[in-house]
Structure formats: structure tokens, C-alpha cells
């Protein structure tokens, strides 16, 4: 069985969970393994029907006040309770439980809870984990996974040794969500599982939105963003001047903000803002997945980068491979001439 760990907030599944579930269904068909979603939390019953609409016919829920806020201890115990229930079910006859019920692969998204929890569980069970997967396939009896390395500039294909269960987190954006056909929408069978006693060593004290005072990118139809390729703080001016010429906003990838070249409110990506402008310039940005998830829905993406293999070119509509210090001023000049 393939278990997909869902993540939700305010009674809604996160976008990455939808990618995960779609991917798990396709993989389940290929591997001929049943697929089940795992929903952990407090007051989660309302989430189940939506899983059916996403084509998931089996759901394990662990509903407990101890799960209302995320903690590695409580969530590890909850996910463990699900896998235990699968391996020690009531129908475990003399020959043990049927193979189809053994957890074969446990998956989560590579953001949020997934990368915080799955490594712990994999280490606890001493089973292999592959993080940030973009592909999973079986060849013979062996499972192969492809994962992103070097900030998605390269991929590494690996095979897993030993017995199941195997663990994987999937890279955001690697598995686009496809429409679930009407006939595949189901009413899921739900199996509630008890959490039991758990000693929680981490306590959430508070939550804060730090995006307050952030730039309002929402209204900008054009965003010009700079990345590590700018090399020095004074070169941020190149990005600012092009943004001014286009009447757009200035964005940045994480390294630029970390280096203090631009204030944090300019940051676009998984730990910054998500934008969807009409036109997006990525200048000297290689396109780490953390940045891509924040801008890949822009209508038109232009990438300027010296490295032809940079992953940013995979989401771009137009690309220029070359020296941004020569190219960007030329673009600014042309736009300014047109404006004049």
C-alpha cells in the first residue's frame, strides 16, 4: 500500500498535497498498489469528502486534540499508529497480513510537515528515504527515485535497498495536478485510528504572520527579480532600473535577501511571497525549486542567466543565455526609448 500524508490548513488541503495525491494515484496504478491518504489533525472529518473528489478511495484519519498543532512527536506517533494498524490488522491470519496492505511507500510533500517528519520516521524504522523526488518508478523488484540536487540544477537517480516501507518526499511543482475524471470520484472508505498516549516534547506557543508590511505584489502586472547572479549589492540597481522602466515591482530570490542587498519584503518563493504577474523577469536567478514555486504561474516568464542548464529556463517562455550585466541595460534602454 502507498500512504500519502496530506497537509491541510483552515480545512483546506495545501496545493502540494493535491500534487502528492494525484501523483500517488498514478503511481499506485503503475505499481498495482492500493493508495490511501493519511489525514492527521484535530477535527478533520470535513476534509474526507474532498479526498473522494480527488479520486482517493481509502483514508486513514487520526483525529486527536494533541494533533491540533504540529509537533514531530505527536505526528510521528500518529503516522506510526497508521502503519502499525496496517501491519497488525484484525485480518492478520496465520500467513500474516495480505501484502497489499503492508505499507510499501510512505510519501509526503517536500515542504511543511513532510521534510520535518518523514526523516524521523525513516530513521526510526531504519528504512531509506529519498527527499525532493521528481520521479518514482519500479524496475523489476527495485524502486528507483529521481531527486533534485544542487538546487535543482542536477538530478540524481537512486535505487532503494532492503525491504519496504520506503519513504519519499516529492518536490513541489514536479507533479502537476490533473483533473480527476467524473467516474473516478468516489466516496472514500474511512478508517479512524486512535492516537493513544504520547509524550510531546515540543510545544507550539504562538504563530505569526511576518508578511505584514510586505510589498503588495498582488497589483503589479510586471515584476523584475534579481538573484545571486547579480554578484554585488550595487548591481541591484540594474534590476531596479528595468523595473522602473517597465512600471513594475522589484522582486528577489532568497540569496539576495539573505545577503541584505534588498529587504526581505522583496523575497519571492516558498518562504517569501507567491506571485502571478503578467510578466516576470528572472535575472541571475538559477531557479531553485523554492523560488519556482513562488513565481511559476506568471503568464510570461523571461529568464536571463549565464548558465544554459539553469532550471529557470524550464519554466521560462523566453530565455537569454549570457551576461546579465550587458543584456539588462540594453533592455532597459529600449524600454525607456519606447516610453519616451
Amino acid at each position: 500500500m502507498i500512504l500519502a500524508l496530506t497537509e491541510h490548513e483552515n480545512q483546506n488541503f495545501k496545493p502540494l498535497t493535491r500534487e502528492l495525491l494525484g501523483m500517488a494515484r498514478r503511481l499506485g496504478q503503475e505499481l498495482e498498489e492500493p493508495v490511501a491518504a493519511v489525514v492527521l489533525g484535530s477535527g478533520v472529518d470535513g476534509l474526507v469528502p474532498e479526498l473522494g473528489a480527488l479520486g482517493i478511495d481509502r483514508v486513514f484519519t487520526v483525529d486527536d486534540p494533541a494533533l491540533s498543532a504540529y509537533s514531530p512527536d505527536a505526528y510521528l506517533a500518529a503516522l506510526g499508529a497508521v502503519t502499525d494498524a496496517l501491519t497488525r490488522g484484525p485480518d492478520a491470519g496465520p500467513k500474516g497480513i495480505p501484502n497489499s496492505r503492508r505499507p510499501y511507500l510512505v510519501m509526503a510533500g517536500h515542504a511543511g510537515i513532510g521534510p520535518d517528519l518523514l526523516p524521523r520516521m525513516a530513521a526510526q524504522l531504519r528504512r531509506p528515504l529519498v527527499a525532493a523526488c521528481v520521479d518514482i518508478e519500479k524496475q523489476g523488484e527495485r524502486l528507483f527515485m529521481t531527486r533534485q540536487i544542487f538546487n535543482a540544477k542536477m538530478h540524481m537517480r537512486v535505487s532503494l535497498r532492503g525491504e519496504a516501507p520506503y519513504f519519499a518526499t516529492i518536490a513541489p511543482g514536479a507533479f502537476p495536478v490533473s483533473e480527476v475524471a467524473e467516474e473516478d470520484r468516489v466516496r472514500p472508505e474511512t478508517v479512524p485510528i486512535e492516537l493513544g498516549e504520547v509524550h510531546i516534547r515540543q510545544r507550539v506557543i504562538g504563530r505569526e504572520e511576518t508578511a505584514t508590511g510586505a510589498l503588495d505584489f498582488g497589483s503589479a502586472s510586471t515584476i523584475v527579480s534579481g538573484g545571486r547572479g547579480l554578484k554585488a549589492p550595487e548591481n541591484v540597481a540594474l534590476v531596479v532600473e528595468l523595473a522602473q522602466a517597465l512600471g513594475g515591482a522589484v522582486g528577489a530570490s532568497r540569496p539576495v535577501v539573505d545577503a541584505g542587498w534588498l529587504p526581505r519584503e522583496h523575497q519571492i518563493g516558498s518562504s517569501g511571497q507567491t506571485v502571478s504577474p503578467k510578466l516576470y523577469f528572472a535575472i541571475g536567478i538559477s531557479g531553485a525549486i523554492q523560488h519556482l514555486v513562488g513565481m511559476q504561474t506568471a503568464q510570461c516568464i523571461v529568464a536571463i542567466n549565464k548558465d544554459a542548464d539553469a532550471p529557470i529556463f524550464k519554466v521560462a517562455q523566453y530565455g537569454i543565455v549570457g551576461d546579465l550585466f550587458e543584456i539588462v541595460p540594453e533592455i532597459t534602454k529600449i524600454i525607456n526609448d519606447l516610453n519616451a
Partner: protein
Amino acid sequence: MKIVTCMKLVPDPTARLLINESKSWIQETDLSFVLNEADSYALEEALALKEKHGGEVIALSVGQESTLRILRQGLATGADRAIFLSDKRFRGSDEFVTAQIIARAVDKDGGADLVLTGVQSDDLGTGTTGVMVAELLGWPHASVVISVDAAPEERRVRVRRELEGGITEEVELESPCVLTLQYGINQPRYPSLKGIMAAKKKELRKWDLEDLELGDDAVGVSGSMVEVAAVFVPERTGDVEIISGSPAEAAARLVEKLRKEAKAL
């Protein structure tokens, strides 16, 4: 407070990477290597905590001889001593095995109040090793931490973690614990001349497989459950149109296309 801070040697993230002949990793000859950026914030946080609460900071690294450089850098920056985990048989270890090597070393050194790591490495970038170390030590952990407030006498640590979409969360956890620290959370100090001189006299302990009492078959490629099949540059899947020409020509063509074709201007 006894703080162990983990340091990893990685290829310079701005370097152009090429794949090696056997397609199993990148070409490492002529490549420059640096301290993993996220680990530099962990080291700074460790030094700041020591300044506030007293105790000692131990820089720890798993690697080959070339890795000694970053441990010396850690000592020169202010770490009190270093632990170098090195053995030819460690080569090819996956994250789980690496975590086990680190956890064993922490144990052998008599435990700690805190183990810090960078949130992820700039090479494999999975962010999983630190979390696995916590599980193997049986300690709680917090990942993607952006600030640390310790109360050593009460054996607890209060941290702020970064969640997605600009949300942060404050968490209190029991110590000893493992924290993985986010990029950019502090201003790492540079080693001073005095620090560099002082580093030469500091203890740098080397432990190998036998010291850690791990089996031959528990480390390296043979001990790893994740086996590398191939490393490759992903194919461009999108339909990007590469615009060529001199900078001026390319710029003019791009603007033309943005106006006429994409109607984005």
C-alpha cells in the same frame, strides 16, 4: 551549554558543475569547495549562545582530509574544539548513515545540550540529516529555525521556526535537542587574526570507524540504503525560446517578442 555545530564542505554554489565520467557524481577536480552556507549561520548561532550562557562550542564534520579546512575555519572563528569524523570507508554514505556517524560521535563525546546544523546542504540539499540525527539520539528537534532562545538551567529551548508563506511559529522544546537553522538568520563573524593563531592550539580530535564502533558494513556505500544510479542534467521540459545574438540584438528581439507575440508589454 555544550553545543555541537555541524559543518559540511560543499562545492561552491556559484561554480559551474560538470558531471563526472562514470555519471555518479560531479567532477570534483578543479572545483572550489566552501563551508556550506547554512552551516555558517549555525556556527554563528552556536557562538552567540555560548557568549550568552557560557559553555563550549564543538565544530563537527564528516569528510575527507580536505574537510579539515572548514573545521580549522570553525576553530578560528571561535569554536573551542573540533571533532573530525573521517575514514575512507565513510565514502558514499547516504544521509541515514551520515546521521548515524554524527549521532555516534555526539554520544561518544558525552552528549550535548544542543546539536545545530544548517537547514540543508547546498549539494544534496535534502535537509534530512539533522532531523535523522535527532531521532537516532532520541532527542526532540525543530527544523527551519530562525531564532534561538535558550534557558539552559531549565533544560529547555525556545525557537522561532519558519513555515511556508511568511508564517513563523514559536516552539518550546526540551533539551537536549537538535535544531536545523535557516539561511540568513544572523551575520556570521569572520575569523580574526588572533582567532586564527589561537586555533592552532585548539584540540582537533579525529575519530574513524573503529573509534565510533560502527560495523564495516554499516557505513559507506555498503551500509547505505540509498544507492546512486546516475547523476544527470535534467532535460528542458518547457518550450523556452532561447533568444540569441549580441546583448543589444538579443535585448531588441526580446522586447519585440514581448510586445508582438506575448503581448506582455
